[in-house]
Symmetry: C2
Subunit: 417 residues, 2 copies
């Protein structure tokens, strides 16, 4: 007996038949004695259709009207799932963002949740044993009374925010993968599914390309200490043991991970380009003269490496950007040459970033040193290094990506038994 | 310079291109100095898709959830039209039923409007010259805070209710016909478009099959004395003279029709079946014993004819039902035979109802008598007659329908010059 949020994405609700399958998943939890709130996305493809229409109506459309249009997708799914649940004899009603309400700021199309009113939903758990079926991805801005949306993948964030508001025991995210892996199983067949991963580790992995959850939902889980369980939506409701724990990954606080590994996972990204700015003055304001123009051009900079200069006068600075933004980034820096005052740019596009993540690093010295040695043995050259408390990242030639990932995966004992 | 409501149906907003065409219609009125509220339906086909999903999820679905699902169609169109208007440089915002709010009762799926709050829309006309783009067909039930819908064709009713709430000068209904005709032009090629028709006449015609407007929108027009102008959505915005009056039919109060004709139009319905209940006692409660069971079976009875009995003891009673409900109606009456106490039932399915409508009838005697004579000359037998203040209806053999309609159309001077 507990209180659960269950979140289902677009693929899981793509057809009425699948919505009925979701209803059976919910019934399983209700029958096991749980109080349940379900958060749903739009039917697969619907959001793209709606976005397409808004763009066709006008390429430069008002984000407030865009939100009104696209939020309709989740509204439809919420109503349909409530109907499917009622057909199974389960008391249920749909809730739209403005009905709960889920309050957000007014950053339309990428709004942030500022508060969720969970009282009425809890009261209905108690008084009517009613399942709350909640449209994900949407909220309302209190002052204007207008519908807002949270940006792509926002239903994950809705789910965790609602879980916190109704004091749920856990937030289950049903998705098309059955959990979080030590690394991409397509590259390393020996990759293992992690039973548990700390919020902080997940944040480092998610932003590196482990596209399991919207990053903000993990941040919210961390802030509210709300355990998030990533599990497969393909499991048949009938096959799941209601008393056991199914396959999946629990994202939780560090403290709940009793035997934490030094290294939890290896992330990588081949979509990188490197720009090295040579012989710039080592004085305040130089970094700003480089990254200011890049920010103005909305270019996302990832790694930044600047070494201590030998002479205290001149230094080099290296940064990476997504490969798709390489040309724009190079042009931006070239235009600002006079202001920055560099001698030349060295660039490379065939580079990859490999990151090693683990909260255990905090208490273990020499974790990175082992990696340098192992890669050196394989003749893999390390172009640049950055580190954080629970992660270090290496920039290498892209051709060596798979070899490096497999080498590190074995090195840190992540291979399956 | 005035204040207008413009209503566009599903065909007019079926694609983004057509929505952009609607935007040009709106711009035309704004440029002419009008304050404009636009009411839109769902894109053609969308409501059917949504209804289909709700039915697939469960044949017996909760009307509250059905409303949440289907109301999304108008939400999408409202947002898209606001975007298209902004792209033409017109200040515009979308309004959903719950945002205005449009208050209704809680008869989900066929709710009735109980109030519309027009103040904010008027304030924005004044302060921001902003066009209000309003999702038709939907409202909100105040106590439950849930979305309601008004039933098929409900956007017409939304439009007239909003026109009344914002004190508009006129409500323009853009539709796929260019007005209301004296009769069906497919049957009578000489049928004329009426420039003006009284609300009461329109009510009699609409319920008879002139499917131009939802009946309730005409009732609302009558109650609020709000002129409703039916006009073609196919006219190009660019071709319309902003200072003249385009082709169409103005539905208005009797007083505004200066030279009213005795007869305004001829309506007919071939979808009729006749049931005559023979030799029933002429005493209180007998009619109730017939129509009570029919009402319980949700069978719509149309004409009812009962003559004064000759002997004060026994009489016959004839009524008509839609042909599709004939078998159910006959079975219902047969089951109640003991209670009603009739000797036999005479039935006919090949019958049609022809109605002659005109507010001028009130002040002109002998209008119906002329019809009886003219039909007699054509050897058309009249099976039954009913009359109201501004209409009389004749039940005839269906084979003579077209002949009867054409004869009456000419008789009352309705043929085009």
């Amino acid at each position: 007996m507990g209180r659960l949020v269950m979140k289902f994405g677009g693929t899981s609700v793509a057809t009425i038949e699948r919505i009925q399958n979701v209803a059976r998943h919910v019934k399983r939890e209700v029958d096991a004695g749980n109080e349940v709130a379900v958060v749903v996305s739009a039917m697969s493809g619907k959001t793209n259709e709606l976005v397409g229409w808004a763009t066709e109506a006008s390429a430069l459309h008002d984000a407030r009207e865009y939100d009104t249009v696209v939020a309709s997708g989740e509204q439809v799914t919420a109503g349909l799932l409530a109907i499917a649940l009622q057909a199974l004899g389960i008391q249920a009603r749909s809730w739209l963002g403005w009905q709960i309400p889920i309050l957000t700021d007014d950053a339309h199309a990428s709004a942030r949740i500022t508060g969720v009113e969970g009282g009425e939903i809890i009261a209905r758990f108690k008084n009517a044993k009613e399942v709350a079926v909640i449209a994900g991805f949407q909220g309302i801005h209190k002052d204007s009374g207008r519908i807002t949306t949270l940006g792509r993948g926002g239903s994950d964030t809705s789910a965790v925010a609602i879980a916190a508001a109704i004091h749920a025991d856990r937030c289950d995210i049903y998705t098309d993968v059955d959990g979080v892996y030590t690394t991409d199983p397509r590259v390393v067949p020996k990759a293992r599914r992690l039973d548990k991963v700390a919020f902080e580790e997940m944040l480092e992995m998610a932003s590196q390309g482990a596209k399991v959850l919207q990053v903000r939902s993990v941040e919210l889980g961390l802030v509210h200490n709300m355990p998030v369980f990533v599990r497969s939506s393909f499991d048949k409701p009938e096959d799941i043991d209601p008393h056991g724990m199914p396959p999946g990954t629990l994202i939780c606080s560090e403290e709940e991970i009793v035997e934490s590994q030094v290294v939890t996972g290896i992330a990588f990204s081949k979509d990188e380009a490197q720009i090295s700015v040579r012989h710039i003055q080592d004085k305040p304001g130089v970094a700003a003269s480089i990254f200011g123009p890049l920010a103005d051009a909305s270019i996302n900079v990832d790694m930044i490496v600047q070494n201590v200069s030998e002479d205290g006068k001149f230094t080099d600075l290296t940064f990476t950007v997504p490969a798709s933004e390489f040309t724009r980034a190079k042009d931006t820096i070239a235009k600002a040459k006079a202001k920055i005052g560099y001698t030349k740019l060295d660039t490379a596009t065939d580079v990859a970033k490999v990151s090693v993540i683990g909260v255990g690093m905090r208490s273990h010295a020499g974790v990175a040193a082992k990696a340098f040695a192992a890669l050196s043995e394989r003749n893999i050259n390390i172009r640049a290094i950055t580190t954080s408390e629970i992660k270090f990242s290496l920039l290498i030639d892209a051709a060596y990506t798979e070899l490096a990932v497999r080498t590190l995966h074995t090195l840190y004992g992540l291979d399956q038994a």
